[in-house]
């Protein structure tokens, strides 16, 4: 009927007017164009014009995206760091860094703060995971020779990035160490006692180092507050800075080392840049990117747009890391022992697990020959790890393996390098295992199934 028709048209135009007025469709498109780029230009823009995503290149090689090459360990450690920053930031509202209140504030977190148990547990688990993942990342980088420069490096400096990585590893260990003290319980207090006592046995710098770390000669309020500041501000700041530099260098070096083989196939000499392409890396550095100078690289064949391939995988890795961390948080309760008591040493007093290999080394290198006692703290605690770190830092400059071995797992040309490296890693892991599960009261060896003596109680 005529009236019906009129009313229908009226409704249509009403909705239509509304839609136009509030530009719903335009708004939706504006929010989601990055996920579903319709053109290659859009795909590139989605990355390059985005504040967070512009860290990544507009296109990435297929090998870089593979699961089995890098296992995305670097990404996982970055995600863990993000989890730690967020949970840590929230915890800062509740934790009190004073020797009178620290322990009670942690107890309050466990018992009377909403989700406090979860925040604290997640923070602790992520911290342990991060130490492990960062270590595995280092192992992966070494075994794939990704610390080496490619053929006639064009502005490449992978050894520098490796050194930045070693620095990041040490900072991660320090972050974990400073955080370990904050609950101010027996576990925390004595672990830091062990750690700082080992540090003090360094020649010349040992005692001043311990004095600066502790803010005095005993572990007291001064120690707690400076560990807190280091843990919450200075070390995360250093980490953010170095991680940014670390990732920037990856891009400057032409991407992950697995892409090196493509450059191998390119001509041996440097290629001049094509006149029409002048990319500079974010306007900060001069010259062109490595992959621009290698005109033999076929972008179309070997690369895919980062949006959505890289971004989706990033999302998968982020969620998977979060899932594993949360599961472990729900399964493993964060420990909290008695309030710190300088008069009572727990038996045994253990360093945090990532330093247990050091404590084992100290034990092994402390022995008496004739009338002389060898100072194990110096040998096992300072010299040996010092030598290891120095070796790690300097190895890229001594490494003589060919360029063809870069970016591949267990290449024949680096057989002996990798075997020795794995031997050292295995030794560290075994020592850590012994320190964790096989050392009991008085630092005696106890088989994992043997029971320790009863801990005495008041009642």
């Amino acid at each position: 009927m005529a009236t019906e028709e009129i009313s229908e048209t009226k409704t249509n135009s009403l909705l239509g007017t509304l839609r136009e007025k509030f530009a719903f469709r335009a708004m939706w498109e504006k929010l989601t164009w990055t996920w579903k780029p319709e053109t290659k230009r859009e795909a590139g823009d989605a990355i390059v014009r985005n504040f967070i995503l512009h860290w990544f290149p507009a296109k990435v090689s297929l090998e870089s995206l593979s699961w089995g090459y890098s296992f995305w360990l670097g990404t996982i450690s970055a995600v863990l760091f993000l989890i730690l920053t967020i949970t840590g930031g929230i915890l800062m509202f509740l934790y009190v860094p004073s020797v009178e209140r620290a322990y009670l504030s942690v107890k309050d977190l466990e018992f009377s703060t909403s989700y406090g148990w979860f925040l604290r547990g997640l923070h602790r688990i992520s911290a342990h995971l991060m130490v492990a993942v960062v270590f595995l990342h280092m192992v992966r980088v070494f075994l794939t020779g990704a610390f080496k420069n490619g053929r006639k490096a064009v502005g490449q400096n992978r050894p520098l990035n490796w050194i930045i990585g070693v620095a990041l590893l040490l900072i991660t260990l320090l972050l974990s160490f400073t955080g370990y003290l904050l609950p101010w319980d027996q576990l925390a207090y004595w672990a830091i006692t062990v750690g700082t006592n080992i540090a003090s046995s360094a020649p010349v710098f040992g005692d001043p180092t311990r004095f600066i770390l502790l803010g005095g000669t005993t572990i007291e309020q001064a120690t707690l507050i400076r560990f807190y500041v280091l843990h919450c501000f200075l070390l995360p700041l250093a980490t953010f800075g170095l991680v940014s530099y670390h990732m920037w260098r990856v891009r400057k070096d032409g991407g992950l080392a697995c892409t090196e083989k493509r450059y191998e196939e390119a001509k041996k000499e440097e290629q001049p840049a094509i006149a029409s392409k002048t990319y500079s890396l974010l306007g900060i550095t001069g010259g062109s990117a490595v992959d621009v100078q290698n005109v033999m690289i076929d972008d179309e064949k070997d690369k895919v747009p980062s949006s959505p391939y890289l971004t989706v995988r990033l999302a998968v890795v982020t969620l998977a890391t979060l899932l594993v961390s949360i599961l472990l948080t729900l399964l493993v309760r964060a420990p909290l022992e008695e309030a710190a008591n300088p008069a009572v040493t727990p038996n045994p007093a253990k360093a945090p697990w990532y330093f247990l290999w050091l404590q084992e080394l100290v034990t092994i290198t402390t022995f008496t020959v004739g009338g002389i006692t060898i100072n194990g703290a110096l040998i096992g605690g300072i010299i040996l790890p010092g030598v290891l770190v120095a070796a790690a830092v300097l190895w890229p400059y001594f490494d003589k393996s060919p360029v063809s071995s870069i970016g591949r797992w267990f290449p024949k040309e680096r057989k002996w390098q990798n075997r020795i490296f794995l031997f050292i890693v295995a030794a560290i892991l075994i020592l850590t295992f012994i320190g964790t599960y096989m050392r009991g009261p008085f630092w005696e060896i106890y088989m994992p199934w043997q029971e320790w003596e009863q801990t005495p109680r008041k009642f």
Binding site: V312, L323, L327, T345, P456, F459
Partner: protein
């Protein structure tokens, strides 16, 4: 290669959603909510729904700032101060009243007497029989483990933290027995306790502070606990410490338990002075001050002391001494008033001018009888003053011949 990514994303997303729900439930289905719900049902049944609606829900706590304790026991033990639930099962039982009258909850909390982990809100942790907590609730569980006849006896250890300097305290039978034994058996012959005693044995003043690790449990059967060690040691010192020269006093197991409780109560924890029994937070007057005050209150000038005249005026001939001496000595008020105001004392006091008019109008209101009593006494005072003057003025009799 990439099609599986989307599937992984959905699977991970759903798993995380599931975990979020799980965490939400873990946080919101706590034991104490169940106990509070049960309590509400109990109250509805016994006292009706209106009373039940008044019950607070959520975590409850008593914050005792002076003792730096937060006790959340009242989250589950909500009936602590209720009337009528004396026979209800725990945790819904009313607390015995007499002790609460002397030790109100707001000033003492719960854990300072009962022990336990006050700030906890989950069950095994709250009662403190868990690893890494050394102050368990001193009640049923621990008493049964040690076969102590009276389950409330263990708590006396905590009572003694404040009642340490009492010789005897009502309601602390075990500790009272133990304190008597200390005197009877003369522990101070060998041990120093509270600054007095011998030096043959160790100083026991803070024996309760000694860490658990510093005892030698090697010759102890059963659990390695300080309490067990102390009881065993009291019953047979040489069995526990072979090098000891402490004699065996032949103590019964109950006496040994009492002494162990006493000794473990000797701790160093900082307790505000106002909590410690027997401590007088006031300066005590010396005997001379007491005598002086008595003299003033019972002497001839008692009227002027009782009515506070002495605050400003001395009446020296009647033995009333003012410290402030704001006004003149009233011993010669009879003439002094005349000189100052040109009126008789009787006239002046009935209708004073100046300062006295303000004082007698606002601060020391005296009835007519009282004023007349004052006038009469002041006349007596003047008489006495004149007599004293004459006595002082007359020369002492000289010996004959000089």
């Amino acid at each position: 290669m990439f099609s599986k990514d989307a599937i992984k994303l959905y699977v991970l997303g759903l798993s995380l959603l599931g975990l979020t729900v799980f965490i939400f439930f873990r946080e919101n289905t706590t034991d104490w909510r169940d106990y509070q719900a049960e309590f509400r049902d109990l109250v509805t049944e016994k006292f009706g729904p209106e009373r039940a609606e008044q019950i607070p829900s959520g975590v409850q706590q008593i914050w005792v700032k002076d003792l730096d304790r937060v006790d959340r026991c009242v989250t589950c033990h909500q009936a602590v101060e209720w009337k009528g639930l004396e026979t209800a099962p725990n945790p819904y039982r009313t607390h015995p009243k007499e002790i609460l009258e002397k030790h109100p909850l707001t000033a003492y909390g719960c854990t300072s007497c009962h022990g336990g982990q006050g700030f906890s809100t989950t069950l095994p942790d709250a009662h403190g029989n868990v690893e890494h907590w050394e102050e368990p609730v001193l009640g049923q569980e621990v008493s049964e483990a040690y076969l102590i006849k009276n389950p409330k006896a263990l708590m006396e250890m905590n009572c003694n933290a404040c009642h340490r300097y009492d010789r005897e305290t009502k309601g602390m039978d075990y500790i009272n027995t133990a304190k008597n034994l200390v005197e009877q058996k003369d522990c101070r012959a060998c041990h120093t306790i509270n600054g007095r005693g011998g030096i043959i044995g160790p100083d026991l003043t803070f024996e309760g502070e000694k860490p658990t690790e510093q005892f030698d449990y090697g010759r102890l059967t059963g659990r390695h606990a300080v309490f067990a060690w102390q009881v065993a040691h009291f019953q047979n010192p040489k069995m526990v410490s072979p090098d000891s020269i402490m004699p065996n006093f032949g103590l019964s197991s109950q006496d040994a338990q009492a002494l162990a409780l006493l000794v473990m109560s000797w701790r160093k924890e900082p307790i505000p002075a106002s909590y410690i029994s027997g401590v007088q937070l006031r300066d005590v007057p010396t005997p001379e001050e007491v005598a002086r005050e008595k003299e003033m209150l019972e002497g001839d000038g008692a009227f002027f002391v009782q009515n506070k005249c002495f605050v400003c005026h001395s009446v020296s001939s009647l033995g009333v001494n003012s410290a402030a001496k704001i006004g003149p000595d009233l011993s010669d008020a009879v003439v002094d008033v005349q000189n100052r105001f040109g009126r008789t004392l009787d006239d002046f006091l009935m209708d004073p001018t100046g300062t006295m008019s303000v004082v007698l109008a606002t601060q020391i209101p005296l009835t007519t009888e009282q004023r007349q009593q004052a006038i009469a006494l002041l006349k007596v005072a003047y008489q006495r003053k004149l007599e004293q003057q004459i006595k002082n003025a007359s020369p002492s009799p000289t010996p004959a011949g000089k």
